[in-house]
């Protein structure tokens, strides 16, 4: 290298074939790196999956899984043992739900960070989770009063639907506040998110003041987050929306990469910026609403997972989004196993665990060498 540009930057005249160049070999090395982490991630997830099925208030004998699975295949029905019932009706849906919620939260975190061009954006931080939890709280406290005369006993689906509407509502409110003339101001959106979060928090607090004992317990569940109520009904209620989110998110990867340069630059590069932003907002709202609906408020997954992955695999959203799904599933499944075991036979609300891990991590981010990128 002689320290200057080529005097004739006629890129056409040179033939790129032949020896693989620097960029190609970087790509190949990175490919092996990615392959290694994908293998590690999936092995870990498989291990945690099995651990999650067997461990809990009651530890199941290892033969239960084979026995139960064999019976279901052979006779099409569950064996009538207590172990089989725990495995099939409690542990399995709970495990799947924890993985799904973790994946959805981490992916929506990664998307919101890309959208806001800020690695600190998190569904919790910008008030989307708070909006969803507020709607869930309203459903708990006023649902009986207003809907029971019409519907009789409240069907379970009312709660997830309420949380989803709340999540979408607060995201759209944010978008409306921060968008002028078709352009979204990221700074306004972040600050408006903080304000909306505070407002939701205040109303939620007022609800807690109004509510009776049973409602108060339910509200606490929403505020702290837990998978203890997991069931096939809950899983099936939210799985379609969450799986759709996980499948659609990678299509936004190129747009989010370009947005990292800035909105004007993404337009210069030829991307339909406003469409990318609208899609990211909608997808994140669905993911967060569905998560809050089944598991309450679980913070920091959306910050921790994408950040660690950026350190391991780089910032490109093409890898970040699918790996966030894997990493989020790993983190939340691991956290749920711990939540079940540390104070067994009781269990810890999982939101306490993720906050205990996430909040120091967040502070470390602020103080650490990455600080310059938060400007």
């Amino acid at each position: 290298m002689n320290g200057t540009f080529l005097s004739e930057p006629n890129l056409r005249s040179r033939d790129g074939s032949g020896m693989p160049g620097t960029v190609a070999s970087l790509g190949a090395a990175h490919g092996r790196h990615v392959f290694f982490w994908a293998g590690t991630g999936f092995s870990l997830l498989a291990g945690l999956f099995l651990l999650s099925l067997f461990k809990g208030a009651i530890t199941l004998p290892p033969g239960t899984l084979l026995h139960t699975f064999g019976r279901v295949i052979q006779e099409g029905s569950l064996p009538d043992t207590r172990e089989a019932l725990i495995l099939a009706n409690i542990r399995l849906p709970r495990t799947l739900l924890a993985m799904l919620v973790g994946a959805a939260l981490a992916v929506s975190g990664a998307m919101l960070q890309g959208l806001f061009r800020n690695p600190l954006a998190d569904p919790g931080l910008i008030g989307v989770s708070a909006g969803a939890a507020l709607a869930a709280g309203l459903t708990i406290v006023f649902g009986d009063m207003l809907l029971a005369p019409v519907l009789g006993k409240l069907p379970f689906a009312v709660l997830p639907a309420g949380a989803f509407v709340g999540g979408l509502g607060s995201t759209l409110a944010l978008y409306a506040i921060a968008t002028r003339g078709g352009r979204t101001s990221i700074a306004t959106m972040l600050l408006a998110g903080v304000a909306l979060g505070a407002l939701s928090g205040a109303i939620s607090g007022f609800l807690a003041y109004l509510s009776d004992d049973r409602q108060l317990r339910d509200l606490t569940f929403w505020a702290l987050g837990s998978f203890s109520g997991a069931s096939w009904a809950k899983l099936l209620a939210v799985a379609p929306a969450m799986i759709a989110v996980l499948l659609l998110a990678p299509f936004l990867a190129r747009g989010l990469d370009a947005l990292a340069l800035g909105e004007a630059e993404a337009y210069h590069l030829g991307l339909p910026v406003q469409r990318v932003k609208a899609a990211a907002i909608l997808i994140a709202a669905v993911a967060v609403g569905a998560s809050v609906a089944v598991a309450g408020m679980i913070g920091f997954v959306g910050i921790v997972v994408p950040h660690v992955l950026r350190l391991l695999l780089g910032a490109s959203h093409r890898l970040l989004l699918p790996f966030s799904a894997l990493g989020g599933a790993l983190l939340l499944l691991g956290a749920d196993i711990i939540a079940r075991l540390v104070v067994a036979p009781a269990e810890l609300p999982i939101g306490i665990l993720t906050a205990a891990i996430g909040a120091p991590f967040f502070l470390w981010l602020l103080l650490g060498r990455q600080a310059r990128s938060f400007e």
Binding site: M1, G3, T4, F5, L6, S7, E8, P9, N10, L11, R12, R14, G16, S17, P20, G21, T22, V23, A24, L26, G27, Q113, G114, R117, N118, P119, R254, D257, A258, L259, A260, L261, G262, A264, E265, Y267, H268, L269, G270, L271, P272, V273, R310, G314, A315, S316, Q370, R372, S373, E375
Partner: protein, 273 residues
């Protein structure tokens, strides 16, 4: 030569203040247009109007005869490439990934080998190949600027396969560069306007009047949002005009056939000359 972009009485208003007013400007293939003017004269706003980023409140900007508002983003990206002033990144991308942003939209049909080789040659052209694996955020300002130039070259070349009338827009491209790389970048831009196959139109905003005079085919002087003068360099290099626009007394001489512009002193009309 063909006109790639044309502004006709284009203006942009922020609140009640016109940042650019009644701008008439054509960017032609094979021509390096340099825009000069004091801070706040509207240079960047004019560039953003011409790039389609801002919609004019007055007049119209057309690309090959079509108003920019009707040209979809991907098609604009094939016709005009922008190296903007601020180039900070939100996340720790590698240098070669940032350069590959240039082909996110316009290079979708290229295969992997072609992409890699294009990114590599762009990096080489901007003298950044040795730092290809570095985290962009850890680079110095000048190095970041060279990465963005490589990205612009990458987009220009990838899009050049489907669009043969292109414009490259550079907003203060050499602001953070050392002297050697300042010349190298402007040489490279000039060479793009002079190449035989599909010469490019270049629009550059510069602050250094000597470099502007050296490289420009067409010089545009902007003052208070209006084009005060435009034309070939010798016509525009007028002591009285520049003193009036910049508020600094200048003397213009020639050395080795090139104009040399020397600022003399603060210009105060109240003081006797």
């Amino acid at each position: 030569m063909s006109i790639v972009l044309r502004a006709e009485r284009a203006g942009y208003r922020s609140g009640r203040r016109w940042l650019v007013e009644e701008a008439e400007l054509v960017l032609e293939a094979g021509t390096l247009t340099v825009v000069i003017g004091p801070n706040g004269a509207g240079k960047s706003t004019l560039l953003r109007l011409m790039s389609g980023e801002l919609a004019p409140n007055q007049g119209v900007v057309t690309s090959l005869g079509q108003p920019l508002a009707r040209v979809p983003a991907w098609q604009m990206a094939a016709r005009r490439v922008v190296m903007a002033q601020s180039g900070r990144l939100a996340f720790p991308f590698r240098v070669h990934e940032v350069v590959a942003f240039g082909i996110l939209a316009v290079g979708r049909r290229l295969d992997r080998t072609e992409r890699d080789s294009l990114v590599e040659r762009s990096l080489q052209a901007a003298d950044m190949l040795a730092l290809a694996e570095r985290d962009f955020q850890t680079l110095s300002g000048g190095e970041q600027q060279r990465v963005h130039f490589a990205r612009a070259l990458c987009q220009l070349e990838a899009a050049g396969r489907v669009e043969n009338r292109q414009v490259l827009m550079l907003d203060e491209p050499i602001a953070s560069l050392d002297l050697e790389h300042q010349f190298a970048l402007l040489d490279a831009a000039k060479a793009l306007t002079r190449r035989k196959a599909n010469p490019v139109a270049v629009m550059a905003i510069l602050h250094d009047l000597n470099l502007a005079a050296c490289y420009a085919d067409h010089l545009v002087v902007l003052s208070h949002g209006r084009i005060a003068a435009q034309g070939p360099v010798p016509e525009i290099l007028d002591e009285a005009l520049l003193a009036d626009v910049f508020g600094v007394r200048l003397s213009i001489t020639r050395q080795h056939g090139l104009p040399v512009i020397l600022p003399q002193a603060r210009f105060r009309s109240a003081m006797p000359a």
